[in-house]
């Protein structure tokens, strides 16, 4: 039987995992040993597509087009894209309609970008396992709506994968935690990722994981922390250097966001750090000291926004915070000490953090894949639909048919009739959301049900709304008079049609037949060149920090790497890259320490931001 793997398709990073002898483990890149694949795709000017770390490095060079955090745009329309995203992404300008990118005269959709990340994971797994991978489980934020889920499934298809199941990230995480050992109890999963926040409450009983409620915000995550700090850094640079132009420079923003992310990571361990920004057209970097205290004041309000969904989830589950037996932390952003403190205070107990929060979702996806392949029958996940589903009724009001937190799969049948004589069809407008009015909810689909012309109120059309185990809706209608049954295709308003997916698939197969090795070689070269650039810069900045021997060793390793880049031996380049990386590590650390000391008594973040 073919192997089924689990994929965590994250906003910031993506991972792939498998179950071996009953235990899940993530699959690392066979060359670099890296487990996390940055969810970044770079479209180079020459048509090459790079994914992951090499795409990030290409971004830093400022050529081509780089798309990061595309998950934020999956399955939504232009009217839901905020101002920040409009500057961050190379969007085709429009007030409404589907989100599209313009890349070298070609229109690319978010699922296509996501598919590049999935393909890279597929290649990685195939290289390690030595067999073709075609069946996967992919995780999605629990709070993803129907169109976001369909877009994720489309991305899988475009990558040549059969997506057997979409699993909610927090529930997947609970599977990975092996909490089935807990005979019974209530657990809360707090999942703060790069771009999304989910909270789920589950009851555990003899291996059954029953989700009681889920809530969240698909537009809230660690990215927002990074943007806040990036803005402060740029504002500081604009003011201190009298360079207001950096505030509108997309490249400067990209660098500032990268640095903000790195500073966040450093501040999770250290109480202060120096943020550095390379300013175009300026010698040396702009630097500013950020203390953890200052940082926490900056992000506190964003972090606190996660608590309202927690309260709602508890309320929906009918559970008090002190009835929660375990709190599980998921997502890289839960490493931020402030976030841990907020969660500890809110639930009144120490959250579980013993599984790497970056890996736990992928591990859970692998467990679910194992369940689907018949590997384990001990565990069963009973998940819920996160948002109510309904239809438009008279007066622009949404009438709920399936309520949020209903266990899936679920099916509800409603009978419809006509409001006037000789009507030939009934219009059905499917909505998802919790608000009263149609206009405040997400429009999922509209379709027409054909009916035989009859006097008003005579036709009897039974419509069944079915939400499957992936949380995806399908609709069937039966004309009770004629017995005719038709399946209604629920096309998400911003999704791709089947024809579009087919066409894209064909195009991508053409592309896949191009030499894959050439592509891998290109990626490896990019990584090597970035390291060479960084090394040169470090040697210039801290000449007094290296002695003769060390300098000679670094230069020897750099020369060796330069020679391998000219050749076509990918493994040789990889080895030489790693060798250079090793000898420059101590220098990098010394440089970092020095800049912290230099700025300790210098200007601080507050002054800059004032």
């Amino acid at each position: 039987m073919p192997r089924i793997l689990g994929i965590d398709l994250g906003t910031t990073n993506s991972l792939i995992a498998e179950v071996v002898d009953g235990a899940p483990r993530v699959i690392a890149d066979p060359h670099t040993g890296e487990v996390l694949l940055p969810s970044v795709v770079h479209y180079a000017d020459d048509g090459t597509v790079l994914v992951g770390q090499s795409a990030r490095e290409a971004e830093a060079r400022g050529t081509g087009i780089t798309i990061a955090s595309v998950k934020r745009l999956m399955g939504i329309g232009m009217e839901h894209v905020n101002a920040d995203d409009r500057t961050q992404f190379p969007l085709v300008e429009a007030e409404s309609g589907p989100v599209q990118f313009m890349i070298r005269d070609e229109i690319i959709t978010p699922p296509q970008v996501s598919a590049e990340v999935l393909r890279e994971l597929k290649r990685r797994a195939e290289a390690v396992l030595g067999e073709e991978i075609s069946e996967v489980v992919i995780t999605v934020p629990a709070y993803f709506n129907d169109s976001q889920r369909q877009a994720t499934r489309d991305a899988g298809r475009l990558a040549g994968l059969n997506v057997l199941r979409l699993v909610n990230e927090p529930t997947a995480a609970s599977l990975a935690y092996g909490l089935d050992k807990l005979d019974h109890g209530v657990i809360a999963v707090y999942d703060l990722g790069g771009g999304t926040f989910d909270i789920s409450l589950l009851r555990l009983q003899g291996g059954i994981f029953e989700v009681l409620s889920t809530n969240g915000n698909t537009r809230l995550g660690g990215d927002d922390f990074d943007r806040t700090l990036a803005r402060r850094i740029l504002e500081g640079a604009a003011k201190t250097l009298d360079r207001p132009d950096v505030l509108t420079d997309r490249y400067a923003w990209a660098l500032a966001r990268r640095e903000a992310e790195n500073a966040k990571i450093r501040l999770s361990k250290d109480t202060e750090t120096v943020a550095r920004l390379e300013v175009p057209g300026m010698d040396g970097d702009y630097r500013v000291l950020v203390t953890r205290d200052q940082y926490e004041r900056m992000i506190r309000e964003i972090a606190r926004q996660t608590l309202a969904p927690c309260r709602q989830a508890l309320k929906d589950a009918g559970i008090a915070p002190n009835e929660v037996d375990e709190v599980v932390m998921v997502g890289g952003s839960t490493r931020v000490p402030l976030v841990r403190n907020l969660v500890r205070e809110f639930f009144g107990k120490e959250p579980l953090t013993n599984i790497n929060p970056d890996e736990v979702v992928a591990l859970g996806a692998a467990v679910q894949a194992d369940i689907l392949s018949g590997g384990t029958k001990d565990m069963l996940l009973l998940d819920v639909v996160p948002l109510s589903l309904g239809i438009e009724t008279m007066g622009g009001v949404m009438t709920r048919i399936i309520h949020r937190n209903t266990t899936i799969p679920c099916s509800i049948t409603e009978e419809f009739t006509t409001p006037a004589d000789d009507v030939t069809h009934i219009d059905i407008h499917v909505l998802q959301g919790e608000r009263e009015l149609v206009k405040d909810n997400r429009s999922l689909a509209r379709f027409k049900l054909p009916v035989e012309p009859q006097p008003a109120g005579m036709p009897r059309i039974q419509v069944t709304f079915l939400i499957d185990a992936n949380g995806i809706l399908s609709v069937t209608a039966i004309d009770k008079k004629t017995g005719h049954e038709h399946t209604v295709e629920v096309k998400p308003s911003y999704g791709l049609t089947d024809e579009q997916v087919e066409q894209m698939l064909l195009e991508s197969f053409d592309y896949a037949e191009e030499d894959v090795t050439a592509r891998l070689l290109a990626e490896t070269r990019v990584e090597a060149e970035s390291l060479l650039l960084y090394t040169g810069k470090a040697l210039r900045e801290g000449p007094e920090l290296v002695d003769e021997d060390e300098r000679a060793a670094i230069e020897r390793a750099a020369d060796a790497l330069r020679k391998t880049i000219e050749g076509d031996d990918r493994q040789a380049i990889l080895d030489a890259t790693q060798a250079l990386d090793q000898v420059t590590k101590p220098l990098a650390e010394r440089l970092m320490n020095r800049s912290v000391k230099q700025l300790l008594l210098n200007r601080s973040m507050d002054e800059v931001a004032a």
């Binding site: 059954i208 679910q368 369940i371 392949s373 018949g374 029958k377 069963l380 009973l382 509800i412």
Partner: protein
């Protein structure tokens, strides 16, 4: 499923009767532990996760049956949903916007008045009053939830052949009151939230 095979208890996953779907005795007073036990066991039997590799027909059946089991569980677990379903399965429907039940008219009027005043004045003393009225509503609600359980017990004791009509009237009235109190509570919560009290 030993306890489902005795007497008249049947398990029929394709039935429209929630008791039959879960293989539970046809009694409105539900033993929650038994309900959970049956629910989990049937989920383990029918859930699509365990039929992923089956034929298309098997997968469709698994999906349909799991949906039915989930629906039955959701309905029977919650006394109000259970009562509503029972009413509907006897051909009665609870109106979407019921009249103010006479017994609650006074309370409703008073609460609406104090809410309106609070919305206009944002006075913290009024907020205190609203909190007090909210407790009163909660008490009324709890009392009716207890009455609902007693009411269910009377259905279970209804002799064979007796007319269910009087009980149906009583159930409809009780559910209308509960629905009204819940709406009132939601209004109170929303108002308190909007004035930040």
């Amino acid at each position: 499923m030993s306890d489902t095979l005795r007497g008249e208890i049947v398990h029929n996953p394709d039935s429209r009767d929630h008791f039959e779907v879960l293989g539970l005795p046809r009694r409105l007073v539900v033993d929650q532990d038994q309900l959970s036990r049956h629910y989990y066991r049937l989920s383990r039997t029918y859930h699509p996760d365990f039929h992923q590799k089956g034929t298309p027909a098997e997968r469709i059946a698994s999906l349909r049956r799991t949906a039915a089991v989930n629906d039955a569980h959701k309905t029977l677990r919650d006394p109000v949903a259970r009562g509503r379903w029972w009413l509907e399965s006897h051909g009665r429907k609870l109106g979407d916007s019921p009249q103010v039940p006479p017994e609650l008219a006074m309370l409703v009027l008073e609460v609406q008045e104090v809410l309106e005043n609070l919305r206009q004045s944002q006075d913290s003393a009024l907020a205190e009053q609203v909190h007090a009225r909210n407790d009163e509503i909660k008490d009324e609600l709890n009392r009716r939830m207890e009455m609902l359980e007693d009411h269910f017990a009377r259905w279970d004791a209804l002799p064979e052949g007796a007319s269910p009509e009087p009980l149906l009237d009583e159930l409809a009235a009780l559910l209308a009151e509960i629905s009204y109190l819940k709406t009132l509570r939601r209004d109170v919560d929303r108002t308190l939230e909007s004035v930040g009290a």
